[in-house]
Amino acid sequence: MELGQMQKSLQDYTKSLFVEGILDSQFLQLPQLQDESNSDFVSQVVSLFFQDSDRILNDLSLSLDQKVVDFEKVDPYVHQLKGSSSSIGAQRVKNACVVFRSFCEQKNVEACHRCLQQVKQEYYLVKNRLETLFKLEQQIVASGGMISAMDLGF
């Protein structure tokens, strides 16, 4: 595939993430923080998000699998995940967390289990899409092309 086509693919792919609501405008703030001296910032912060989320989802699964669920423990985990997903613009993950928290408040164990599944689903979705996004970018850069922050804005 030639460079121009690859860049068009990247733009279309990125756009679809916004149209589907997987990402929101906060994600567009990230490239603004990237420059020559911090050229990997976006992928770094996204990696941190993945790292952090994997840990939280694991802890959440363990907490909800307890015989007696301690919601004092569960809610802060969901709050953390809501915060970090909001910070990088992972809209659907954030929204799923909001729903999750309301069931935590009601101490509804069954609903919380369902919420956890929903959050996981949204998380794996955004993770998958972002990993593809970064791959597309890498392909372009490897072919001698340039990615500018403008490519992601529209």
């Binding site: 906060q26 923080l33 911090n38 912060v45 953390q80 910070s87 613009g89």
Partner: protein, 231 residues
């Protein structure tokens, strides 16, 4: 960057228990030409400042950084943190005779009016809703500028090298305009404009002081460059 610009670099202490948010706030602050130190709890923040366990450090065996060595121009902290909340930290700082004048900004992902007014009443300068953006940080410059100039004046009084300077009323007096971050403007352009004005003002002050035969050199050790220290 010459000495002049380095003298006006603000040092911000950022407190947040979230890994992702710490990374973000660090970069946001660096992009706003601040030196940044990040810590993950209120306790670590107090430790960094030299206030251990809420007791002011006159203890010779206390942590290596004493309040006088590390100049912090602003503290920005998350509200919801385990153990010591941002509000608890704010209270401790305002109770301290040494640190009550450092401007404190609270961040929160939750828009709770009662929380916001409580923090502002306790003395927080600003309350930012997360996610924080570059445009929000432009509001911080006047607060940090005020403290830095106050510190400079206090020092000059102590050293007997007090220059006669006009009272700092507001950012307009200083001829520094805090530019709104317009969407057409690249963040870099805004940063350059603010830095230019800061340098201009500094050289004006320096010129005035030189005319009066006084020194504006400040003997405080400076932290190098724009390198952030994660604690």
């Amino acid at each position: 960057m010459g000495m002049a610009a380095a003298e006006w670099k603000f040092h911000v202490l950022a407190v947040d228990d979230s890994l992702v948010d710490r990374k973000l706030i660090e970069r946001l602050l660096q992009k706003s030409s601040c030196q940044v130190t990040t810590v993950d709890s209120g306790y670590k923040a107090l430790e960094f400042l030299g206030l251990r366990q809420g007791i002011e450090s006159n203890d010779p065996t206390a942590l290596s950084t004493s309040p006088q060595e590390v100049e912090v121009n602003l503290i920005i902290t998350d509200y919801c943190m385990p153990g010591m909340t941002g509000y608890d930290l704010l209270k401790k700082l305002k109770e301290s005779s040494v640190f009550k004048n450092i401007p404190v900004v609270i961040m929160s992902s939750e828009n709770v009016p009662a929380r916001i007014s409580r923090c502002l009443e306790e003395g927080a300068e600003e309350f930012f809703l997360k996610p924080v953006r570059l445009a929000d940080l432009n509001k911080l410059k006047p607060h940090m500028m005020r403290t830095k100039l106050k510190n400079q004046k206090l020092e000059e009084i102590e050293n007997g090298t007090e220059a006669v300077e006009p009272e700092i009323k507001g950012s307009e007096d200083m001829g520094i305009k805090i530019l709104p971050l317009q969407s057409e403007l690249e963040p870099k352009q805004v940063h350059l404009q603010v830095v230019k004005q800061e340098e201009e003002t500094l050289s004006n002050n320096k010129r005035k002081s030189m005319e009066e035969g006084l020194s504006t050199d400040r003997p405080l050790p400076r932290l190098e460059g724009g390198i952030a220290t994660a604690v």
